[in-house]
């Protein structure tokens, strides 16, 4: 198909290429994409006269002027130039899920889309029932007493936790002292970040040989200044910390609260429950584990759950059932809101649909399969030259994902993980996830198979990686200059952090790059 894939029996692939202009370059003066009705006789008035002096816009915004079909085609081109799991994506830490069209379809109905959160409760009983129903499902999966869906993402749920816990300590009058959050370097960056944003100091424990910090390090970190212990487990190395119960015990002994970031829930669904391990609170990502589409970055939902002791501090409202009726309630000591309204309702609905479609058996089986598939993948990856597994000292099976590194490949060929990531997209494989900062493993990548993909897909993914690694040894240039079969060629990102060159708007681009041709001559 192209000159870039000479010796492979992998399926042919090429991305759609449209050479699409930026929308700001498109259209023609006078074109319209949408017109609005005229004000009716009796309503029609001089618009200028309705705007207070000085408050009217002087110059029209320099937006494109396009017909409706042009706008549609433009964005369709962009959609086609998005790989978006049209091939195989084993993007670790995000848990590739099936985002079922059935729930998308239902969520697009006016009964969801055209409702307002301030409607009288009796006109939203359907939504309230589903939200409440999902709350009870998460309670069962976690052992917590109450969930709230206000947070607009996983990080926002982490922030919610910080707010709830600071509210708790404030109510106890201890917030002045208990201002430290203890976490690990393998916790998601949002945990220390939201802790800091909420006004806490962050104490970070480093991992040791087996992939998690030692009990000694934890003990040293805990004190009467500790507001909470915050961690995820398994982490995104795929390692489950078997001492976690002891950690919680120690934290509690120090008077601290414990928060479980349950974003990596997929491998342990139905196997463990946060509450049983002693945690006071936890969060789930509905746009991850629970099959709501993430849409490249939300609308998302961080479902936050906690014990009855913390529940009064939750941001409200939460949905309560009273007899046959569902109603909205605020907690007695609510810390206020982390976001307006009650959360991304359509996503909660989709997560509910996912959980119901799976059922208890399906949820457990999904966990089984994702761990099985991950270890199957690990087995195959271990046979590829150039790869190194994280924490080789830990011989345990990994959970739903495993952190790997291309350190040896880099040393031997100069081809690094970003190159391999790019090159794999030439075969229709979505760019994989590397690792959060800091890169504890050199040249990291983190595949996660999940329960959706079949063995053939996993095999294809590994075959492509094996092929690209082999290319790195035989023809490193082809890998370093990748992609070749994508919508565009490799990006030159050298200007992205340069104030003289970055441009997040078209007007900034024109100002900074006025002399540069819009497109290089072909």
């Amino acid at each position: 198909m192209t000159g870039t894939r000479p010796n492979t029996t992998l399926p042919a692939y090429h991305a759609a290429v449209w050479d699409e202009p930026v929308v700001m370059e498109m259209g023609h003066p006078g074109r319209r994409g949408l017109v609005f009705p005229q004000a009716e006789p009796g309503v029609a008035a001089d618009v200028r006269a309705l705007i207070p002096a000085g408050a009217a816009r002087a110059e029209a915004p320099a937006l494109p002027e396009m017909s409706e079909p042009e706008v549609l085609r433009h964005y369709l081109h962009l959609s086609q130039m998005t790989l978006g799991m049209m091939g195989v994506s084993l993007f670790g830490t995000c848990t590739m899920k099936y985002n079922a069209p059935v729930s998308e379809q239902v969520a697009m109905r006016p009964q969801v889309a055209e409702t307002h959160p301030y409607q009288p409760e009796e006109t939203l009983q359907g939504t309230l029932e589903l939200v409440h129903g999902f709350d009870t499902i998460l309670r069962e999966l976690s052992g917590m007493d109450q969930f709230v869906f206000q947070a607009g993402g996983g990080a926002d749920a982490a922030f919610t936790n910080m707010c709830v816990m600071r509210g708790y300590w404030a109510a106890k009058g201890e917030l002045g002292r208990r201002n430290e959050i203890v976490t690990t370097i393998q916790s998601h960056p949002c945990n220390p970040a939201t802790a800091a944003a909420a006004g806490f100091k962050v104490v970070t424990l480093m991992v040791e040989e087996n992939g998690y910090p030692s009990i000694e390090a934890l003990k040293a970190a805990l004190s009467d200044r500790t507001a909470a212990l915050v961690l995820n487990n398994p982490d995104d190395m795929g390692i489950y910390n078997p001492e976690i119960k002891e950690w919680v015990r120690l934290a509690k002994a120090a008077g601290a609260l414990c928060f479980y970031d349950h974003a990596n829930f997929n491998g342990v669904m139905g196997k463990i429950r946060a509450r049983d391990l002693g945690f006071d609170a936890c969060m789930f990502m509905l746009h991850k584990t629970f099959g709501a589409p993430k849409g490249g970055g939300g609308p998302a939902v961080g479902a936050y759950g906690c014990t009855a002791e913390l529940a009064p501090f939750m941001p409200g409202p939460i949905v309560a059932k009273e007899g046959d009726r569902y109603t909205l309630k605020d907690g007695a000591q609510t810390v206020g809101k982390v976001r307006e309204f009650w959360g991304n309702v359509p996503q909660v609905l989709k997560a509910y649909a996912w959980a119901r479609a799976m059922g208890a058996d399906g949820i457990r089986e999904a966990s089984d399969i994702s761990v099985l598939a991950n270890n199957y993948m690990d087995k195959r990856l271990s046979e590829i030259r150039g790869l190194a597994k994280s924490n080789p000292a830990n011989a345990m099976w990994r959970m739903e994902m495993t952190r790997w590194g291309l350190g040896p490949l880099k040393e031997e060929t100069g081809v690094g993980t970003l190159h391999v990531q790019n090159r794999m997209t030439d075969f229709g494989i979505d760019a994989y996830w590397l690792s959060h900062e800091p890169w504890v493993v050199p040249e990291p990548f983190t595949p996660e198979a999940g329960e959706m993909y079949g063995k053939e897909d996993i095999d294809l993914w590994v075959d492509v990686l094996a092929h690209v690694c082999a290319e790195a040894y035989s023809d490193p240039e082809i890998v370093k200059t990748a992609p070749h079969n994508q919508a565009i060629r490799q990006l030159d990102g050298s200007g992205l952090d340069d104030p003289a060159r970055w441009a997040t708007t078209w007007r900034a681009y024109r100002r900074k790059h006025a002399k540069a041709p819009a497109k290089a001559a072909e």
Binding site: V22, R32, G33, V35, R57, A60, L63, H77, S79, Q80, G84, M85, S89, F91, M96, K97, N99, V102, Q105, Q111, A113, T115, P117, P120, Q125, E129, G133, I137, G152, G153, G154, A170, Y240, I272, D276, K294, P299, K337, R339, E340, G343, N344, A357, M358, V371, K379, Q421, T425, A431, E451, A487, I488, L491, D492, P499, T504, T505, R507, R511, P517
Partner: protein, 466 residues
Amino acid sequence: MRENEASAHPWMANSVADLKRRMLEAVGASSIEELFHQIPEDHRFRGELRLPPSLRSEPELKRHLVRTLSKNATCEETLSFLGAGVWQHHVPAICDTVYGRTEWLTSVFGGPSSDHGRNQAWFEFGAQLGELVDMEFVGLPVYSWGCAIGHAIRMAARMTGRRKVVLAGAMDPERLSVVRTYCEPRETATHIAIVHVPHDPRTGLVDMAALKAAVGTDVAAVYFETPGYNGMIEPRAAEIAALARAAGAETIAGCDPIALGVLAPPGSFGADIAVGPTQPLGVHMNCGGGVGGYIASRDEERYAREYPTLNVSIAPTADGKHGFGLSLFHQSSYGMREEGKDWTGNSVYMWAVANAVYMSLLGPQGFREVGGLILQRAHYAAGRLAAVRCVRVPHTTGFFKEFLVDFAGTGRTVAEINRALRDHGIFGGKDVSAEGFGPMALYCVTEIHTKDDIDRLAAALEEICR
């Protein structure tokens, strides 16, 4: 177990016995259970999960969802005047079409080349919003308008090293509650004190005298909205910005972007940072689940270096075409953990694509038209309601799409009025009686409300207040 449940699950390709077996053989484990060895037995939950019965059959699932949701009433069948943070605007069909493309309605995001289309759409969100607000730097949206205010205030606090913010004019308690969460409480080391200078109830606008008194050199930022929570357009926006600037404070303006075809954009009146809602731009209300918030500013390093958001920038490809990548990624929480600028994560980026479609579709003319139409209809409505016996409209001019209606003269509570309106198939405006306004409701009238709709409301109120 029932027969169909024993069969493979439609969403799990490997839920077939022989595939599990083959993978187990390959890894050399005797059972799946063995793979969970790393979880100590005393961690394990061994009970039955008491979940509602599985609905793995799509016909059952769909029916259950549809039936349950049929208990809702919608703002399509019911004539609604609810606004206050989420508003009923027309959502063009192609916003839904584009939103629904399976290529981006997934669990994944990818690289600059493999996700080129998505990155471009995001850039186009910023590029177009930049024109609307008249500013050069735009981040990807955050969770909501309230969250955008929170981040903007924190940016200003970091930039100025000051720890006090002045909020001027009527504030939505919903948004205010979020802002408080971002700034307070007092006990924390990084606490930002909030001073609220309320609006002048006579004019509905910022009380300039009170504001002047409040803005000293300890103030990091002045935040105000135009149109404000009470719907009023702030004609002295430039004066407020000048006042803030004189004190060395940043001006943060909250602006509804759907108004910016007719109202002066924040860039033009001297705002340093603009924030506002994204839901009006082509996103359904979704029971409040359609909200998002933008942050924009001048493209100066001082501002840019404080953004907590992902920022999509244009950048060249190897063959000199337009590509797109993330600017200033390192300063985010992904790059620096607790040293990063606040935090970021999944947000409402798919809505940003719908916003981009909306802005492309309207263009300058469309924004002018929609703004003008809203103004005309909202003013017609205010006039009609003001003419209803015992009903008073405190400000019959000077607002955009929302305005207060005072029911004191009716001798009834707003709750009673709204209950009565329900019987006419109408959702009355938001009851703000508990917010210090007196027995008032905040009515929202947009381009979707025809003259007939408004007349129907007026007639219903006339009947109710008879």
